[in-house]
């Protein structure tokens, strides 16, 4: 039998076909579009989104939804960005960091939702610019916050009662500091760290002043200085330990093991406090509001978890139906991950059972929870000016670390932040 010989042309054609077969499924706009609405978010489906999707499909049986989770870190966000840019089938997606927000909204990756919001009385609150719940780019609404994440200060009730400290219902940053001092023992540091003093005093967009940075405001240096002094006198957690143990991502472990007492945090960390089997501890937690600074009372938390529609989506109506459902009536399941709905729309009982587990009275002081979380209406500071945001975020972190390690004077550190931030703002505003 004669063996077939391949010509050069045949071989090249074969290579080309093999290459095309390998590459085509992975690229091209519209490649692999499915009938179901594609939603990408950073919260695991089991922590709420799965139930939101189920409820939506029950109400709108004409729509099917696939929820895909991306990890909300640098790599996960890059994956989302390349997928959006590469034409992957995504109709609705979430943005969690303000740095990514500016980039996506400004680069044509977010549909204009202005008309939908303006014409819907239920959603008009998203046009508020005093305490913004949306991201508005050049007058167009591009993203809507789904969650409200106010900060509060948690107390370890057992240790608080042992120390004879009264649970504050309103307090200043100086009182926070003196309370941390009274709560400091041989085994327990008074506080994890100091709340963001500049944020409390200055509110949203506090990094910017006109076309320059705002780090000349004395509250920034005050924040660095108070943090450093508290670490030095042993009333705040040593920053060497925070860095060496990567504690910033695992604060809850040290709170549960009573390594520190006062914990300024937000509802998303409550999930560690009602499961004593998984996160063993034998104390109740009580709530105090964030301290005030010079009579100013902005909360360190914000409206967050922004939902956006891909402008390339061919299923805009279905996508909008899903977005509106999530915002107005569907977000209750997200309480289990500590996400209070941005528009409210949930009862106190739903918040309690959703966010505090099956035995809320066993793990939480319910009076203070009601007072601080359910009844209070803190002023949330959501940044909407985002020029050079990632660069400034890094500069603040780097100089804060050096300052709180005791290696750099607070004034010198803040001046360096100011120099870097001014440069980042100037550079980004020069860009087309």
């Amino acid at each position: 039998m004669r063996r077939k010989r391949f010509s050069r042309r045949e071989v090249l054609a074969g290579l080309g076909a093999a290459g095309a077969a390998a590459l085509v499924p992975g690229c091209g706009s519209g490649g692999g579009r499915s009938g179901a609405l594609q939603v990408w978010g950073g919260v695991p489906a089991a922590s709420g989104p799965g139930d939101v999707v189920k409820a939506f499909q029950a109400k709108f049986p004409q729509y099917a939804v696939d929820y895909t989770r991306f990890v909300n870190d640098d790599r996960g966000n890059l994956k989302l960005d390349t997928a959006l840019q590469g034409g992957v089938d995504i109709d609705v997606y979430f943005t969690y960091s303000q740095g990514a927000m500016a980039l996506r909204a400004g680069s044509g990756l977010a549909a204009d939702l202005t008309d939908r919001v303006t014409n819907d009385p239920e959603l008009k609150v998203f046009l508020d610019t005093e305490q913004p719940r949306s991201y508005i780019d050049n007058g167009k609404v591009k993203a809507l916050a789904t969650a409200r994440e106010p900060f509060f200060v948690l107390f370890n009730e057992k240790l608080r009662q042992q120390a004879g400290v009264e649970l504050p219902q309103a307090w200043t940053i100086d009182e926070f500091r003196s309370t941390a001092k009274r709560l400091t023992t041989d085994k327990t540091v008074g506080a994890y760290t100091v709340p963001d003093i500049a944020r409390i005093a200055l509110g949203p967009n506090y990094w910017y002043d006109g076309n320059r940075s705002n780090f000349g405001d004395p509250h920034f240096e005050q924040g660095f200085r108070v943090g450093r002094e508290m670490i030095a006198d042993g009333t705040a957690f040593p920053w060497t330990e925070v860095l060496a143990r990567h504690l910033d991502a695992y604060q809850q472990n040290s709170f549960l093991t009573e390594e520190f007492h006062l914990w300024s945090t937000a509802p998303f960390n409550l999930r560690y406090l009602y499961d004593a089997k998984k996160y063993p501890h034998d104390f109740k937690v009580s709530f105090a509001p964030s301290p005030t600074v010079d009579g100013k009372d902005w909360n360190g938390g914000s409206y967050s978890n922004f939902i956006m529609i891909n402008p390339k989506s061919p299923k805009f109506e279905a996508a909008w139906a899903f977005v509106k459902f999530w915002l107005t009536e569907g977000a209750t399941p997200m309480l289990k991950g500590g996400k209070l709905p941005a528009l409210g729309g949930v009862t106190d009982d739903q918040v309690i059972t959703g966010m505090l587990g099956k035995e809320p009275d066993k793990y939480f002081d319910m009076d203070s929870f009601r007072r601080v979380v359910l009844e209070a209406d803190p002023k949330l500071a959501t940044d909407t000016r985002l020029t050079g945001f990632p660069e400034i975020t890094l500069a603040v972190k780097q100089q804060r670390d050096l300052c709180w390690l005791g290696e750099k004077d607070p004034g010198v550190a803040i001046r360096e932040v100011r120099r870097l931030a001014d440069a980042a703002i100037a550079r980004n505003e020069r860009r087309p």
Binding site: R5, G108, A244
Partner: protein
């Protein structure tokens, strides 16, 4: 008719290039998967980096958002204190870690070349750091070098030294260098070991007859025979150290401050945190040229010495 024409053309081509038989092209099918991989994941990104180095691009804006800006990125690099700081740190990292790794690797290689009891086990143990996952290495060293509770500081405490290691801007880079040396010595020793076993026995025997000292034998016989290996190790280690990224990303994220922001990590920050892909590509290109020059200088210097000896 057409078939006949193709067959004739094929014959003509074969006659023009007698060294290549038509069925030799089948071989390309076998290497096609690898070839496609190299084209897709090495060649195209490489060319893209060169092109992007002359642009202002943030990835998210898509291909339509690419703006060519000539040599602006390179001018900005020349004036960027962050870039020069990162270059300085990278040079310190390379200049300290590479020679120490090679010297200690050589010493260990010579030691393991002697008839020690359990030699095979020792070789495997010293080589282990080279094959262990970088995350496991990072986490282990993070615990060992904890300033308060780590084993390293508990030992150093006896000498009155308490470095802050990864929680100190003065000690973080030395800590990374220690880790790099620890990770590289076993690999170097194994390469040296194989070179030592190829060294000409008869020269050692002749030197023994002449009554040469151990140092004289090392200087005149061992070292010259190890020079090609040393050049290879220096070149690969310099390239590897210049690209050092994994442990920095895992343990220090460039900090505290910017004390461990080497050029690879600076490039990563610029590209993947600030989304300045054009500028990051220009940094990559400049770094590539720098590492190439450094490698060539090393190679030429060592090669010149090898030829002289």
């Amino acid at each position: 008719m057409a078939t006949a024409a193709v067959a004739t053309a094929s014959r003509v081509r074969t006659e023009k290039a007698p060294g290549i038989k038509p069925r030799g092209w089948i071989g390309f099918l076998f290497i096609a998967p690898n070839l496609l991989g190299v084209i897709a994941f090495t060649l195209i990104p490489l060319i893209s980096v060169v092109v992007l180095a002359f642009t202002d691009w943030n990835l998210v804006s898509g291909l339509g958002g690419i703006t060519f800006n000539g040599i602006d990125n390179f001018v900005a690099i020349a004036r960027d204190p962050g870039f020069w700081h990162a270059i300085g740190l990278t040079l310190v990292y390379v200049v300290v870690s590479v020679p120490l790794t090679v010297v200690l690797g050589l010493a260990l290689g010579i030691a393991l070349n002697r008839p020690l009891p359990g030699r095979a086990v020792l070789r495997a143990i010293f080589f282990l750091p080279y094959i262990v996952n970088v995350v496991a290495i990072g986490m282990t060293w993070l615990m060992l070098m904890n300033p308060k509770a780590g084993l390293v500081n508990q030992v150093l405490d006896a000498f009155g030294i308490q470095p802050g290691w990864f929680a100190s801007s003065h000690w973080a880079l030395p800590a990374l260098i220690v880790m790099a040396i620890w990770g590289g010595v076993g690999y170097c020793s194994l390469i040296y070991l194989s070179a030592l076993q190829d060294a000409p026995r008869q020269l050692y025997e002749a030197a023994d007859i002449d009554g040469a000292s151990a140092w004289a034998k090392f200087r005149v016989i061992t070292w010259p025979s190890l020079l090609p290996t040393t050049i290879f190790l220096l070149v690969t280690l310099i390239i590897g150290a210049s690209q050092g990224f994994g442990l920095i990303a895992l343990i220090t994220a460039g900090g505290p401050g910017d004390s461990t922001t080497t050029i690879s990590y600076y490039m990563y920050q610029t590209g993947f945190q600030f989304y300045r892909f054009g500028y990051a590509s220009a940094i990559g290109l400049v770094t590539f040229v720098g590492v190439l020059v450094l490698t060539l200088l090393t190679w030429r210097a060592q090669r010149g010495r090898a030829l002289n000896e």
